[in-house]
Every structure is written in C-alpha cells, then in structure tokens.
Symmetry: C2
Subunit: 99 residues, 2 copies
DNA sequence: AATATTTGGTTTATTTTATAAACTTGTTTA
DNA sequence: TAAACAAGTTTATAAAATAAACCAAATATT
C-alpha cells in the first residue's frame, strides 16, 4: 500500500515556495510572489500554513520604511521535504529514475 | 517563473493510480482499490476524471458473473506523466537529484 | 498641501476539489 | 428467501485553493 503524500507539501503553491526556500535559504514575500506568480492573498495564506506546520520561519521587518516579510526553511521543513521527495519517488518508481 | 503542475495529475489519488498504471500497463478496480487504500467512491470519481482527461482507458467487462472494470494508461496519459515529472524536477531541482 | 497611486501585505468570500456516506444492481450463502 | 457480500456509482459534505476586497503606510501627482 502506498504511503500518503504529506498534504501540506502536496500543494502546488506550497511546494513551489518550499522548492525556492530549499535552494535559496531565504526569500522575501515580493520575491516569492514574482517567482511563483501567485496572488498576494494566496501567497499570504499558504505561507501562514507552512509556518503553522513549523516548516518555515517568517520574520517581519522593514526595508527602509516599507514592510518586509522574510521567509526561510526550518530543519523540520527540510526533513519534511526529504520525506516528501522519498515518497514521491516511491510513487513514480522507475519513471522518475530513467530521466 | 515556475511552470504550473498539471492539476489533473497533481492529486494524491490520481497520481497513485497513474503511477500504478505506468508500471503495470493494466489494473482493475479492485486491485487499484486495495493498492491505493482509497474508498470505492473516491476511486470511482478519480478514475472518471482521468478518463475524461483522456489519460486512461476504462473497459467494463465481467469476471465470471461479477462486473470488472479494467484500466490502462493511454499514450496521452504517458506523455502527461512525462511532462509532470519533468516539471516536478524543475521544482525540486537539486534536492531530487541528490538522492 | 491635499489627493491619488503604489507597495506590501491581510482578511474574507467564493469556487473548486477531495472525500465519504449512502445507494444500486446483481450474486452468493445461510 | 432473506441476509450478507461484491463491485461499483451517485450525491452530499468537508476541506482546500484561489481570488476579490480591503487596509495601512509610503510615495508621487496636481
């Protein structure tokens, strides 16, 4: 029987966010928005879910006088991604290995 | 900007179904049910979506006197999976290659 | 110097999707 | 012959994703 895919990660936008953060260590709201093409509302909601899950940390500060929200991945998030990718590979089996 | 992940494939149960079919070429309703652990209702709905998308073919026949639904992947389905996996790898980048 | 616009978001409402519960049709079994 | 089972489908509910509307502060415009 197949393992379940972590439902927090198995979401297009949340996976996109996590994929960016796993590579860059830190990214702000505006960058995530342009990179993912998400609406601000959607991005806000999904960042919140990732934070509640303990997968990312969100720091609110200022860039000069303008607000700035900086996100980075937590160890828990990195571990969850590792497991998610493992599970994905179990699903996709040979199909993914052959590329 | 990240490419969208085919929403028909980016669903746990549908991905599980497609993953089984990509490896086995053909599987019946009962097998898919036990293998995925899905409820019959959910499986029925998701098979229907995959069929409407043209990703699988569904043949209804009999196993003795009992109904039997056999599913197999279409060329279009195989192509969609190829693309989906490519896109996933773009998302996951190095994280997936290192395993 | 008032007012309009832009930036960087959040909150709330709507739509879509996934899932489960209830039902159907026919078949064994007691 | 009635109860239980198999193999599904249909419909109702719960959860999720997404967008629309809103807000506060900063900057630009007339």
């Amino acid at each position: 029987m197949l393992k379940p895919l972590n439902p927090i990660l198995h979401s297009e936008l949340r996976l996109a966010i996590m994929s960016i953060l796993i590579a860059t260590e830190s990214a702000d709201f505006v960058y995530l928005r342009t990179e993912t093409g998400a609406t601000a509302g959607n991005l806000s909601v999904q960042l919140d879910k990732l934070q509640r899950a303990g997968y990312i940390e969100i720091e609110k500060g200022f860039n000069g006088k303008l607000p700035r929200t900086t996100c980075s991945m937590s160890d828990k998030g990195r571990e969850a991604m590792r497991e998610y990718i493992d599970t994905l590979q179990e699903y996709l089996g040979t199909a993914i290995k052959s590329r």
